[in-house]
């Protein structure tokens, strides 16, 4: 049995840091975009015209019932055949946004459905339009209610992002693959990177909880 040698990773610290930053930024940006998609999707599902609701329902089911890696491959390899050519990073971003968008549509919708009918009626009675009621009355309490579920999903999407290495987007997993191809220290590299992901998900959970407490104070 060979000995572990983590010092063999030291020369590659830069690559790891760059990969980590890529993963964090990719997660951050696609989280924002994904939640925006989810909010619009939830609006369409709960208050939009029937055709839009149906379309969104189909989108949600397709995404939730197919693997992320297939979605990613479809976007990166399949779309160019249809004339849409994307860089590795933008394909990764798009795939993650679409993926989180579908899950957050369902999560946010659950929060909206939990809104008492009376809040809608009170808002409408004050001469607000349905959209204004949604925007000013319904959305904040709905987000507050589903924030824990949304946070979990964001972390799941972050962990799932390790797959973007397969289209050569230069994330943390890509860095790990690169390093082990150079120094043949697969166990050490993957062990360390796995630990980094673990730290990242723990840190994100704490950050999201803090953000939730700030955005939606208990009253």
């Amino acid at each position: 049995m060979r000995k572990l040698d983590f010092s063999a990773l030291l020369p590659y610290a830069d690559a790891l840091v760059e990969g980590l930053i890529f993963t964090v930024v990719l997660t951050l940006v696609s989280t924002l975009a994904g939640i925006a998609v989810g909010t619009v999707g939830a609006w369409a599902r709960t208050s939009g015209p029937r055709w839009a609701g149906g379309l969104v329902a189909a989108y949600v089911e397709v995404i939730r019932n197919t693997p992320f890696i297939v979605q990613l491959f479809f976007i990166f390899f399949g779309l160019p055949a249809a004339g849409v050519k994307l860089s590795e990073a933008s394909a990764a971003f798009l795939a993650m946004t679409i993926n989180l968008g579908a899950y957050s549509t369902e999560i946010i919708r659950a929060g909206i459905d939990a809104t008492p009918k009376g809040h809608w009626e009170a808002g409408l009675s004050l001469a607000m339009s349905r959209f204004e009621v949604f925007r000013h009355v319904v959305l904040a309490p709905a987000f507050k209610k589903v924030w824990p579920a949304l946070s979990s999903q964001i972390i799941i999407v972050m962990l799932g992002s390790s797959v973007v290495s397969q289209i050569s987007a230069e994330d943390l997993t890509y860095a790990a693959n690169f390093i082990q191809s150079r120094n043949f220290r697969a166990f050490e590299v993957y062990f360390l990177v796995t630990a980094l992901y673990l730290a990242l998900s723990i840190a994100m959970r704490a950050a999201l909880a803090a953000l939730g407490a700030k955005l939606f104070p208990k009253v």
Binding site: R2, E61, P67, G78, L79, A176, A186
Partner: protein, 216 residues
């Protein structure tokens, strides 16, 4: 010509889908068995055991499934333990599945009212007997829907086995794409096959959940 390659692609994908199904079944069943053991440890009341399960769950839920696969496939090989893609995928998916199922089931066990534990222990049942005869039958009813729901995640999870060279639907798709250069068609069909496997299960889970809510 176009039709010919469509059917070649589609039939090859369907053949490969057998391995997706088989791997899913193995992961789900063995993951379920490990999950049951973990559930007993987690709810045993023995602090050290409960903590072990907590950390286990934290690690497997808090790290990418892909990394778990890589560690088992590439990492462990360096210690002389050579795992085939099959074995590595089955093992990684089993551990990963068990970490999710134990948490789902723990939630169900905990939703059984405290009084049930107290009542059954006053009947002089020991811990395993309490679980076996009183708690689990009640928890089971609640657990069916989320467990079925999670099976969808397992099926989707098997797609990652393609990355370590296990030829299931996704890997077959990549190979067919390299041979036919029809990525749009190939990956649409791959997605369709996953959808055909997962969607009925998702619907079933939703239906079961709805029925439970009505029964309550």
């Amino acid at each position: 010509m176009a039709d010919f390659s469509f059917w070649v692609i589609f039939s090859n994908l369907l053949l490969a889908a057998r391995w997706t199904v088989l791997l899913s079944l193995i992961a789900f069943i063995s993951g379920g068995l490990v999950g049951v053991v973990l559930l007993f440890l987690r709810t045993s009341g023995v602090k050290a055991l409960a903590w072990f399960v907590r950390i286990y769950v934290e690690v497997f839920q808090g790290t990418p499934l892909l990394m778990q696969l890589f560690l088992l496939f590439f990492g462990v090989a360096l210690f002389g333990i050579e795992l085939s893609p099959w074995a590595a995928a089955a093992l990684a998916l089993t551990l990963w599945t068990s970490a999710f199922l134990v948490e789902i089931w723990r939630g169900c066990v905990e939703s059984v009212p405290k009084g049930q534990w107290e009542a059954s222990s006053s009947l002089a049942l020991n811990y395993v007997e309490q679980m076996r005869y009183v708690i689990l039958p009640q928890a089971l009813r609640i657990a069916v829907a989320p467990t079925v729901g999670f099976s969808v995640q397992v099926i989707k999870g098997t797609a990652l086995a393609s990355i370590i060279g296990f030829v299931e639907v996704t890997k077959a798709g990549t190979m067919l794409n390299n041979a036919t250069f029809r990525p749009f068609l190939v990956y649409s069909l791959v997605a369709l096959i996953y959808f055909a496997l997962c969607f009925p299960l998702s619907m079933l889970a939703k239906k079961l959940e709805g029925r439970l809510n009505v029964a309550r």
